[in-house]
């Protein structure tokens, strides 16, 4: 079983790679984790991970710049139904459009726009940076066994934009930051997390383990 973490020039994938390897070890699953920019690796993988840091438009351009990658992703995830995890901007790319600096189309797998977080309290700092708990809107296998809610485990967020999903059912969890901020979106075999599981210690490793065991 192969996990493909897609490398399209958006930041360092070293810690994501190591976190997935550790989650594999700790969950006793038999998975090889591969950081790759080859479309054929994505097609051959059993699980597909799309990370992303920086601006939406930059990430979209980076993804488009890898020949055949968007097509391979579409084939692997949309047609063959492989489990997919988007992380941070990799999750935002699931939206229809990104509105950061300029309007740029996303993958369109989760209808909605990526727009600035607007806390009700204007004194709240942007970016939403640091550790926050998750409020679950609907159960999802990636959250199995993870303590959520006010007394739950924490996830590490750092972002100024969020995915506003058109369909409320696509939102699995939110974080409270002067109002709900989208934390996890999901539809069918696709899940996206706004926070960084690879930087979220206990919660992060548990979520990665759940994703790797997930058979949608």
């Amino acid at each position: 079983m192969i996990v493909a973490i897609i490398d399209y020039g958006s930041g360092n994938l070293h810690s994501a790679h190591k976190a997935f390897e550790r989650a594999v070890r700790e969950s006793g699953l038999n998975r090889a984790v591969r950081v790759t920019s080859l479309p054929e690796d994505v097609l051959a993988a059993d699980h597909v991970v799309l990370p992303g840091v920086g601006a939406f438009a930059d990430c979209r351009r980076g993804l488009d710049a890898v020949p055949g990658m968007v097509e391979a992703l579409t084939e692997a995830v949309r047609r063959r139904g492989k489990p997919f995890l988007g992380i941070c901007v990799g999750a935002q790319l699931l939206a229809t459009r990104g509105l950061e600096y300029e309007i740029v189309p996303g993958l369109g797998w989760i209808p909605g726009d990526v727009a600035p977080i607007k806390p009700v309290d204007p004194a709240l700092k942007i970016p939403h940076m640091g550790w926050n708990t998750l409020d679950v809107r609907r159960a999802h296998p990636v959250l199995d066994g993870i303590r959520t809610g006010d007394d739950g485990l924490h996830a590490y967020f750092v972002h100024s934009y969020q995915l506003y999903a058109e369909n409320p059912d696509d939102v699995v969890a939110t974080a409270d930051y002067g109002g709900p901020v989208t934390a996890i979106v999901a539809r069918d075999n696709v899940v996206g997390v706004q926070f960084h599981p690879e930087k979220s210690q206990t919660l992060g490793l548990a979520l990665i383990g759940n994703f790797l065991a997930w058979r949608p």
Binding site: W131, V158, E198
Partner: protein, 257 residues
């Protein structure tokens, strides 16, 4: 609810951890990777490496430390010291740092902040501001930016500078009071609050922590989003858990995972 962060800072010189007292009399306190792992386990919210290696040639040693740390630590890592170019930032991020902290280079050329944020995103651009109180008794409070470990005045107003770098795309400010650094008498609360209230981005308070109430004050009175300390943690005076327990007792939300 978002939690206030507690961030231990490790001064690193030639690949080893040191802690300067007012930037002199450095003491060796061990291997940075081991220290990072210990802080990861102890519940630190982030970790900060400040490279104080004098020569730029020794850069490879730091990058190696960052790389080895990122392999074993699943928590956010900020690295500062000697970050002068977009390539310096790229190398740190590729080695596994999550954020790069820019200090003198931002003072010398503010547009560097904009270039860095455009290239890598605001989320990984921290501007480190070293400020010293320059107003006399009875005058309105004023702080000036100092560089070179607090030795060189720049004439730049710290509050105006903080606003400006936030505008240019900095994602966070690491604010150190050069009057308080190493003093153990607490943060410069007026400085912290003035800058935290004047900028829309998170401020990390630094410089002067001697006990746990100082950490409480940094958030409660200084309005900081995070508090950074070194020696009180490095030499075992207090644990991260004790720090968070005291903050929680004072009504500050903290992460106790």
């Amino acid at each position: 609810m978002l939690k206030a962060r507690v961030i231990p800072c490790l001064d690193v010189k030639d690949g080893r951890v040191v802690k300067g007292v007012n930037f002199v009399n450095l003491r060796d306190a061990g291997d940075p990777v081991e220290s990072a792992v210990a802080y990861d386990k102890a519940g630190a919210d982030e970790l900060c490496f400040l490279d104080i290696t004098a020569s730029h040639e020794a850069r490879g040693i730091l990058l190696d430390v960052v790389r080895r740390t990122a392999e074993v630590c699943f928590m956010p890592l900020t690295v500062g010291g000697g970050v002068r170019t977009v390539d310096d930032i790229r190398n740190l991020l590729l080695a596994g740092a999550d954020k790069a902290s820019i200090n003198s280079a931002a003072v010398a050329d503010r547009q560097f902040v904009r270039r860095a944020a455009e290239k890598f995103g605001s989320q990984c651009v921290v501007v480190a501001i070293d400020a010293k109180r320059v107003s006399g008794a009875g005058e309105p409070l004023r702080w000036e930016i100092f560089t070179h470990g607090g030795r060189r005045p720049t004439g730049i107003d710290a509050v105006a500078f903080a606003r400006e770098v936030a505008e240019l795309g900095a994602g966070e400010i690491l604010l150190t009071s050069m009057d308080r650094d190493g003093s153990k008498i607490g943060f410069d609360i007026e400085l912290t609050r003035t800058i935290a209230d004047a900028t829309p981005i998170p401020v990390i308070a630094s410089g002067g922590v001697g006990n746990l109430d100082h950490l409480v004050d940094g958030v409660a009175k200084g309005h900081a989003s995070a508090v950074l300390a070194a020696s009180i943690f490095h030499f075992g005076e207090y644990t991260i858990r004790q720090a968070k327990a005291r903050m929680a007792q004072a009504g500050i939300p903290v992460r106790m995972d």
